[in-house]
């Protein structure tokens, strides 16, 4: 119940922001009868309508995970975001070992198996992508290369 309403409210505000932002799109010397703003207005309007529908007539709530799982999910998200930042400076192997090791631990709760998974995926995928498939992945940290 509540989740749909919160999401509807969030999207309502977002859509209004979207429409507001669309009003600032500039015209150029090339013009057509519709212009660059009308379609975004229509889309924003569609989101507003469906958001209102979600607020007025929400579905029964799904089962939301408890706090401990939310923390786990947040950790996983942080790992993935960190991966995106670290893959360049640290290279593929180290980052993948670290990230997949942590994710594996979150699923299995077995430290040794997870460490092994991390190393296996880090090295295995690197060999597969770099040497078998020939993608230009940089395996080692940047400082060792330059």
């Amino acid at each position: 119940m509540a989740a749909d309403r919160y999401f509807g409210l969030f999207m309502l505000v977002t859509a209004l922001g979207y429409i507001l932002n669309a009003t600032t799109i500039q015209d150029s010397f090339i013009t057509d009868p519709v212009g660059p703003r009308v379609f975004p207005y229509i889309i924003g309007g569609a989101i507003v309508l469906s958001a209102i529908a979600m607020i007025v007539k929400p579905d029964p709530d799904a089962e939301w995970p408890g706090l401990s799982i939310l923390v786990q999910l947040a950790i996983a998200l942080a790992v993935l975001l960190g991966y995106a930042f670290l893959i360049k400076p640290l290279g593929f192997i180290a980052t993948t070992v670290l990230a997949s090791g942590i994710l594996a631990y979150q699923i299995s709760h077995r430290p040794f198996a997870s460490a092994l998974t991390g190393v296996g995926l880090g090295v295995g995928l690197f060999v597969l992508f770099r040497f078998v498939l020939g993608l230009s992945l940089q395996g080692l940290p940047q400082m060792f290369i330059s």
Binding site: A3, F7, M11, Y18, A22, I25, Q26, D27, S28, I30, D32, P33, V34, G35, P36, F39, P40, I43, A46, I47, L49, S50, A51, A53, M54, K57, D59, A62, W64, I69, Q72, L73, A76, L77, L80, Y83, A84, F85, I87, K88, F92, T96, A99, S100, G101, L103, A104, Q106, I107, S108, R110, A113, T117, G118, L125, F129, L133, L135, S136, L137
Partner: protein, 505 residues
Amino acid sequence: MDLLANLALGFGQALTPYTLLLALIGCVVGTLVGALPGLGPSNGVALLIPITFSLGFDAMEALVLLTSVYYGCMYGGRISSILLNIPGDEPAMMTCLDGYPMAKQGKASDALAISGVASFVGSFLATVGLMLVAPLLARVAFKFGPAEYFALYLLAFCTLGGLGSNNQAKSAMAAAIGLAIAMVGLDKGTNMPRFTFGNLHLYDGIDFLVAIVGLFAVVEIFLFIESHGRNSAIGVKLEKITVDFKLIWSTRMSMLRGTFLGFIAGILPGAGASLGSFLAYMFEKSVAKDKATFGKGNPKGVAAPEAGNNAAAGGALIPMLTLGVPGSGTTAVMLALLLTLNITPGPLLFTERPEIVWGLIASLFIANIMLLVMNVPMVKVFVHVLSVPGFILLPGVTMVAFVGIYSLSGSSFDMLLMVGFGAMGYVFRKLDIPTVPVILGILLGNSMEDNLRRAMTLSDGDWTYLFSSPIAIGLWIFAIAGFVAPIFLRTFLKPPAHAEAADQD
């Protein structure tokens, strides 16, 4: 014979030793990915598109490889549906209804053989149908102007939302969010930036591949952590594979009926494979004399939806190729594939690049035959995949997703966006908001707007132009009906499926 000449052209393209090798690799990889619990065709193809591009294949090779993966996933998906009761995607759900009970009764090998043959019958006949119908539809599609295309896109969103989800508002919301995301970047008409917030990365728009990989692949890790590995592989014992030809032969009519219904459902823009397998199952149940055994391991309840599912996958390629409107999540991913290869689907594709169309059709035939051989006698090999534990599988999938996007663009920004889409996919899944319309919106958004603006330019700003031709009016009526009708039909259609699915646990 035009048709035979075209087919010869297609096979000429797709039958070189190198492409055959690619097809074989694609079929194996596809079946493996499809067999992984919870992963289906759209996940598999989404995961592999970016990597395929980084490997620098030409259009034909990439097409052969990825259609083999697509069909391979369809075949592989039934393995996890039957043995674990975990469908890889929504259309495969109906196969679980009777497949899993069969496996529990120790008839797993029969269920696998029947579903393998049913998959073959469904997709083979659907490919024949595709070959016959698509050129005709392409000729009709020549009559489509911008107003008709605008209405057609609308129809796709409406029917996809109407039939595919439980709540109209949510699917409309999903489609609109996709369209809203598509607006980011430089406006094609005026070259003015829209919604870029001064961020240079956003000037090119948001790459649909990033969204697809995020929403279809990265999301799985979150769902898996939440479910705490509840769905993780369980030790599956499969006795010696014996093929009971008599039993398979006894389900032939179910397969043909399923194929027919699935194919028709697949052709409807927006409806796609879920509807195909659903209709095939429900129809089979209604004509059967032994209704009570459905849901308890009736072989016909495996044959019909599996044939329907695969036939719908073939049928769904028709609107995708001739009109550029995908009918399901997987065809949306296929459309993304074509667009990335710089192939614009539509009626012109058939006249200007026949080698692509017919090469694709030829590769579908080849993939099907390979898959039948691989999946009936050799199914045991693939069953082993099911015993790969989730804590290796899911991080592996996620890392492959990263490699794909990273090697495609080399930008951390795209990887962050991908993770963002993954998180969004998780929230949407929890809220029961479908993600396929989001993908469709991102894929079609720009050409939808483009067609609207061209229509308005033609009519000099007169909005009634959108309803000025019979085809356009027809499409609008279907769109509205497709959106509104399920609200009333839902009470009849949805509950039995859910009740039966719930019985399984």
